[in-house]
Symmetry: C2
Subunit: 211 residues, 2 copies
DNA sequence: ACCCGTTTTAAACAAGTGTTTAAATAAACA
DNA sequence: TGTTTATTTAAACACTTGTTTAAAACGGGT
């Protein structure tokens, strides 16, 4: 077993267990057993359980942020070339769609999305801080983009609406695989793609609401 | 110290700690120390830590559900008397406003709202199940009310939109006291009442979106 | 005063926690 | 090849977890 083999096996299993059982409910003994590595490997390769969480988040957040930032900048840049305002809907798409499509990008990405979808409201300060440090610059890009796209909406209103959008998105990220309402009393759930389109319609309408 | 004194002191502290530290991150030793009762009191009065969680949730969920159900039924009943469709916005208000105003109803209610706001996406099956069992009938009432109010929207679309609303609401419930974006780069947050009104505007627009 | 059911208490239980250690092994380079 | 890093291993460490136990204290009724 090579060096990076052990590290990525730990990262993969940590991602899965942190997402499915929660960070605090995951013990290093269960984690290392599932990964097929020695108990001490986590502390040797990552330092501590918390630093492992940070590595789990960084591994996929950095590439995901890169994608979202690029797409958002494309939208604003193309608008400037046409001397027009960027469309709020396109900015939202540039942020939301890559995030949700990220689930299909690799086997563990689905768990990763669940994990970060829960991070904003996690009771543990460590988890929240770890996530926010990675996410804030991207949030900021979205916010300034939206300010440019919707100059008629006051900034403080725009901010809460963006927070509402983050709430909706987080909820979809960490509950889309659950089945609260999967009972005969409720209609069938939508397909993943239809869900994304419905989410876009919902948040765009909310963002641009009059009044 | 009377019987109910010990029980309510445990309930109050459990509510606070489960909300602020999380269910699994709260130890019965810290909890009973904070409550000023003996360690064994939890198991004596409630049976187990999980049954304590259930009691914490039931204590306030049952009255809150009563309020929301009554208000929602009032809306549909008044509409029927006028031979008109109930207004979706009023149904939403009947569900959302009592929920968020519940925070000010008593000292611990703020923590309670944080706790149940996180329950839908909690990694622990026990927590989710405990909450959903209590919440599902009220969700169902809202859903059938909305079906009546918006007959032109297909049921499966209506359901996802209601889930989006729950996501937004949950996020507001458990993060409104946090301060992600409280930095000079972002505008000042709104007052609690303004936040509620903005939330109503947002979710109503999303719910009734065309297309 | 006594009795009896309820409640509180301190102690112990068995199991689990993240982390550290020092010895054993493997890999890399000379 | 031998030597030096890098990695893996099993064991121990110190501490925390939820729960149970049996004795003590309390409170109301007769």
């Amino acid at each position: 077993m090579t060096h990076s083999d052990t590290k990525t096996r730990i990262l993969d299993c940590a991602e899965q267990m942190f997402a499915r059982e929660g960070f605090h409910n995951t013990s290093l003994r269960n984690l290392t057993t599932l990964a097929g590595v020695n108990l001490a490997a986590v502390n040797y390769h990552f330092g501590s359980k918390e630093e492992l969480l940070q590595s789990v988040m960084e591994r996929r957040m950095l590439p995901l942020n890169e994608i979202r930032q690029t797409k958002m900048r494309e939208v604003t840049k193309q608008a400037r070339e046409l001397d027009a305002l960027p469309a709020a809907a396109e900015l939202l798409r540039a942020f939301v769609v890559p995030t949700l499509e990220f689930k299909n990008s690799s086997p563990g990405a689905r768990d990763f999305i669940t994990l970060i979808g829960r991070s904003l409201s996690d009771p543990d300060e460590t988890v929240r801080h770890c996530f926010l440090t990675l996410a804030l610059p991207t949030f900021k890009t979205l916010f300034t983009g939206l300010e440019e796209a919707l100059p008629e909406i006051p900034s403080e209103i725009l901010l809460v609406r963006m927070q509402f959008i983050m709430g909706t998105l987080s909820h979809v990220m960490c509950t889309s695989h659950q089945h609260f309402f999967h009972s005969p009393e409720f209609p069938q759930p939508l397909t993943p793609n239809a869900l994304i389109e419905q989410l876009m319609i919902f948040i765009q309408a909310g963002l641009e609401a009059a009044r």
